[in-house]
Amino acid sequence: MDRPRVALFVTCLVDTLFPDVGRATVAILERLGCEVAFPTEQTCCGQAHINTGYHRDAVKLVRAFVTTFEGFDAVVAPSGSCVGAIRHQHAMIAAKAGDPALADRARAVASRTFELSEYLVDQLGVFDVGAAYPHTVTYHPTCHSLRVLAVGDKPLTLLRNVRGLTLVELPQADQCCGFGGTFAMKNPDTSVAMLTDKMTDIISTGAEMCAASDSSCLMHIGGGLSRLRAGIRTVHLAEILAATQGDAP
């Protein structure tokens, strides 16, 4: 049987600031029998550009994404945010620029682009990825994955099947952490006030780690927790699922 040919869409934040998340994603997929490629010509998905109104400029990024990834069976990204943008914005940007052919290609690639938990549960049909991570973890469902991708409880299901992991429910979990990408730049005070509420809830769980499917939110939450010297670390879902000997990052 042919192994699925999967491409890793690493995303800007992971590529520049959290490369271990990318490595962890590859490790999980390969452990589950995928042939994983990393096309080096990939670029940003363009979400920040699109959300800031640079729709014409973003066409180049849509074209680059489509050209880079349309040859693969599936594209997997450790980011609900970027996958959400690809699914909801790419075809629209191409159509708006008057390029219906690109819009069709964008739609086709987007239909094969998945956030990690989606790919594992829906495409590979796997709940137990053979991970071991003996820590108390609370999970924050990030806005894009929760509301745009509607991943539901896929990440929690995957975490519940990790050996040794104690999952503690996060109170008011569906409240936004306040990052929101460009929102944090334009409304820093409100963003941090929202973060304070999120951190209060995280700390109340008594968990050692706060996990999520998006490095953007984890960066925001982790930055806040470190300033508080709260003693709680942030960890990406991929890093937990990649761990097999309980080796925490």
């Binding site: 334009k186 409304n187 820093p188 005070d189 409100t190 006030a193 509420d197």
Partner: protein, 143 residues
């Protein structure tokens, strides 16, 4: 200038009208408001209360999201056919003995209401809270 040559009201409420826009940008105003502990506690409490109520009601129906979409679709369709609906409303209200006034902008609407109030001979008005009247600045016009 005749009434019809007068420039229409601006689309956005001017500063001081209907308390809809202030002199500071949102981020500036937010920085000040966020430093007020009482305000944060009050807002936090009110928000938590509303969310809890909403969560309870939403939990009653498994298809609430589809219902919300359906409701949204009805609103959109109605808004697109507002011209038909308003004319029919006028017919029905008139047939029932009421009077319908048409205003092309905020200024005209405020003038009509002010005139109607003056015609009663009274100087005090009781009105309900209404976003539409805030947007046209009716309170300021009547004052």
């Amino acid at each position: 200038m005749t009434d019809h040559e007068r420039p229409p009201s601006p689309i956005h409420a001017s500063v001081g009208v209907g308390m809809l826009s202030g002199s500071r940008t949102f981020p500036e105003a937010a920085r000040v408001a966020l430093a007020d502990p009482q305000l944060r506690r009050n807002l936090g409490s009110a928000t938590a209360t509303i969310r809890d109520k909403r969560a309870k009601v939403v939990a009653e129906l498994s298809d609430w999201a589809q219902l919300r979409d359906a409701g949204g679709a009805i609103k959109s369709a109605t808004m697109s056919a507002l011209d038909e609906h308003l004319l029919r409303l006028e017919q029905r209200v008139t047939a029932a003995g009421g009077v319908v006034h048409w205003a092309s902008d905020a200024n005209e609407a405020n003038e009509i209401v002010t005139r109607l109030v003056r015609e009663t001979g009274h100087r005090e008005v009781v009105k309900v809270k209404s976003m539409a009247t805030q947007e046209i600045g009716l309170n300021e016009a009547l004052a």
